[in-house]
Symmetry: C2
DNA sequence: CCTACCGATCGGTAGG
DNA sequence: CCTACCGATCGGTAGG
């Protein structure tokens, strides 16, 4: 008769809140994700939702973590079996484009959206977003460096410059898909990346 | 003794509201721009502010227009005296990068921010943002086409693909400046663009 | 996990 | 251009 739930139930409730939060925040933003809406959609009270996280900011950080797990599964993992260097870099980029093309998040890249939303608001959320971009760009740079060292890319190629340009192509893709629903954009992004990842 | 202002005064009040609105919306977003905050910062009542536009959405559209005037002055105009084709395309890109580097809008590119904020919200604001991107990308494409026709760029260069890649480089720049305050980013963007705009 | 509530703020309106 | 107000919603808390 107690309204208290078991630990297992509490965990699955928490997971359900996060699942719904990722869906909402993906299209409405991490600030547009409100406790009241979340509670209504989940058939819970606001305090029930908030009890799992403590504050809206803590919820936002947890949502970012959950979105990071999804990005890792969709984009990092497929590249694990690939050979280090150029091959793996190509697989990473193709998984990255495919993740946008398939609309894994309805609002496009979760982190690009979060970056734009929080780049002017100092705090833990902004820091968490920036850290994820640093990690991702570092990943691209590392693999690019291996490709250059192995002679798979032209000698003198700057891995950091290459990572910058790959990021640009994918950001242009994300933008074209979200704002224009442009069906040509994925092939344009693939073309841009292929040009940059050819000896 | 009347609180009513003359037409000239009303126009300058309207201009003052828009100036402040552009500043706020640039860093907080077009949705973060609230009537109450605007009124407080301008020492006016909310209804006084709203009377000039009628609704928040109408205000947002007016702010977009004002930001468009600034973009035109900063980025389109400097290219007018340049020779059509590759020369003008280079001037356009340099003005575009400089506009971001100088922080003409404190929140970075006003339209990239607005695009991310509204790409998931159908309506007049979203349509206005999309139309501005279409116009700008068309401008880049047209000048790229002239450059190809004049033999200033390699034969077979696709003007639309080139516009896509230029947009990507600048979006990566905007992102790096806003999220990381990365001082290397402008030179990386210039390098990426120079590579693409060389015979 | 709930009900019931808090102060603040939102966009907008009535009436002058 | 103002005061005074509307209903809705925000994040969060008290107390159970």
């Amino acid at each position: 008769m107690s309204p208290r739930k078991s630990v297992a139930e509490a965990l699955s409730t928490r997971a359900a809140i996060l699942e719904r939060s990722v869906a909402i925040a993906s299209s409405e933003g991490l600030e547009g994700l409100t406790i009241g809406r979340l509670a209504a959609e989940l058939g819970m009270s606001k305090s029930g939702v908030l009890g799992h996280f403590g504050s809206k900011e803590a919820l936002q950080l947890a949502v970012l973590d959950r979105a990071g797990e999804i990005f890792r599964t969709e984009v990092w993992e497929p590249a694990r079996p690939a050979a280090p260097g150029l091959t793996r870099l190509r697989v990473l980029c193709e998984a990255w484009i495919s993740y946008l093309e398939r609309g894994v998040f309805p609002g496009g890249c979760f982190f690009v959206a979060a970056a734009h939303e929080f780049d002017g608001r100092p705090g833990p959320v902004r820091d968490a977003v920036a850290a994820r971009f640093d990690a991702w760009r570092g990943r691209l740079r590392k693999e690019a460096g291996r490709a250059v060292d192995a002679g798979e890319l032209p000698a003198g190629t700057d891995p950091d410059q290459l990572a910058f340009e790959l990021l640009g192509a994918v950001m242009a893709l994300n933008h074209a898909l979200q704002l224009h629903h442009d069906p040509m954009a994925p092939s344009q992004a693939r073309h841009a990346i292929r040009t940059r990842l050819t000896t």
